[in-house]
Subunit: 334 residues, 2 copies
């Protein structure tokens, strides 16, 4: 047993098999992973299949509120969920830097295991590569995921009409801010903690509102600002937000003020935006508030006639345009 | 239009969208990729689902016979194929180093597109991350893939009996050797070329032999030696190979001799091993020889009573044990 990852751990020989048996199969191998080493054999799906992938390169790999392991599960589970699906199976592919601490590796895998269990998904197939020191940064994780579409949803942003409501399930920008503070070594009492979490229960609880739910999305890279602009792009409506209604945690708020960063442009990893007809917005809020991940859910805005524009009614009274950030606010936040 | 990848290309803002529209959606976007940016919605699958993933970190990313783009498609398509499935859909996730040449990026994407078309699979969902210079090595690619299981196969290595035949569809070790020569700058006339290719047509053509086909696998990392040892492990039989029957290309043979490398331990990326009952081996060979990727197919060995052992009858007459390489023969070959 070595305490660091070696190049030979990725070489396909005996050390590779040992690493996979000891660390991967021991954690995830009670499922289909056990049978076929390079592919999983799974039962068929009657409804439509939802399929998604993401690579996670967050730096640092540990931050207040989580690590790269939570992100790798929550991110892909959330992509499937907000597409209107029930996440079922996950693939897990690791690129590890030679010299990576085995103890940290085990911690990340433990997080993946516990997050997957919370989300009700199974890691069913995987891959492990090792590259020489300096050829990647500690560990990069790819997950892809398969889900089954809920038949109740008919998501289509072109169905949105002025008057429809925009709901978010909690404070915005905490993940981006938590990674920023971890990276820069900013230590603040009651500082921001990542919101990394799964939204799959929120999506399931909105199923009964079927066609009234017109759009769902998790605001990750580019934040709420980017998603809202994508919604209005080439569409016949705009969106107006109220700054007074925008949930921002005290930690994220104070650092945003100091650094001049807009929390709307910061990534979330446990939030979802949902656009629905006004008659169901309060009902959805009631349902969501029963879950820890929906406790602070709020209507933050309304669809308007201002075609193509996302506007924010500021605390001070004025109105400003919420634009898409041009480039990288903060690289490697997920 | 910039000629190098910038950090902002991965930031989730305008430059990200532009890169994805110009380079990804333009090539793959006629399918489900177009509709839902973070997840694909696909028709259901009645039979069992075959699901696989691999990350590709080959260095150098271009080598005689292919580049990282071919590998990323062939590798995952082959994993699904040898598990007895028809590959259908591919996810494509890119981690790109800041400063990576846009022209090389386009070349790799073109290769992915053409390889996917040849294999009859569709890239349906994806992700693009950019990391700072020095935080990865040019480009890492993850593909995962979904296929539908062919009902004819009942693959199980415990069904193998002494007398069963081991078939390979062509020369062994060429991919590993091609990458080695490219990396070390060894230039030889008629040197080794990677065998990277899809075996999906070979698998389809073996369907009619159903239960006579007991095992299929692509010998990638660890080569033929590793796969054969996996087959005999904890089983009631052994395997005997004949060196005189082993197809090795002249280029790979000569460099193997000079460097003292066993081609059996080198990776292939377009080869498959198939174990079948003796009554169908010639019929499978006949079918395979009709395809370019099966033209040099051969029976290379036979299952024996020598429980747990893989033996090679050498050209010189003696017999040696074929063992699993302990560690990394050649890192980053796929």
């Amino acid at each position: 047993m070595t305490d660091k990852i070696q190049i030979a751990h990725g070489g396909g020989g005996r050390l590779s098999s040992q690493l996979i048996d000891d660390q991967i199969v021991s954690r995830f191998g009670d499922g289909p992973l056990k049978g076929l080493p390079d592919a999983a054999s799974l039962p068929g799906i009657n409804g439509r299949i939802i399929y998604s992938t993401d690579s996670y390169v967050v730096q640092p790999i540990e931050f207040p509120g989580g690590n790269i392991g939570n992100l790798a599960i929550h991110g892909t589970v959330n992509d499937i969920s907000v597409a209107g699906g029930k996440p079922l199976w996950i693939s897990l592919s690791l690129i590890i830097e030679e010299g990576f601490e085995m103890s940290t590796f085990r911690k990340v895998l433990d997080t993946i295991k516990s997050s997957a269990e919370e989300c009700g998904v199974k890691v069913v197939t995987g891959d492990t590569k090792v590259v020489a020191k300096g050829q990647c940064d500690k560990i990069f994780i790819n997950t892809s995921g398969i889900g089954e579409a809920f038949s109740e949803f008919t998501l289509n942003k072109t169905n949105i009409k002025p008057g429809d409501k925009i709901i978010v399930n909690g404070t915005v920008g905490d993940h981006g801010m938590a990674v920023l503070t971890a990276r820069e070594g900013i230590n603040i009492i009651n500082g921001p903690e990542s919101d990394t979490a799964s939204v799959h229960r929120l999506v399931e609880s909105a199923r009964e509102f079927g066609g009234h739910v017109k759009f769902m999305r998790d605001p990750t890279r580019g934040g709420v600002a980017t998603v809202l602009n994508e919604i209005v792009e080439n569409n016949n409506f705009g969106i107006k937000l109220k700054e007074t209604e925008l949930p921002v945690s005290p930690g994220t708020h104070s650092i945003s003020e100091i650094l001049g960063i807009d929390p709307l442009a910061l990534a979330c990893e446990g939030r979802m935006l949902l656009v629905c007809s006004p008659e169901v917005s309060e009902k959805i809020l009631q349902k969501w508030k029963k879950f820890p991940e929906g406790k602070k859910a709020k209507v933050i805005g309304t669809a308007t006639e201002d075609r193509g524009m996302v506007l924010l009614e500021a605390v001070t009274g004025g109105t400003r345009l919420v634009d898409v950030p041009l480039g990288e606010l903060l690289p490697r936040i997920c």
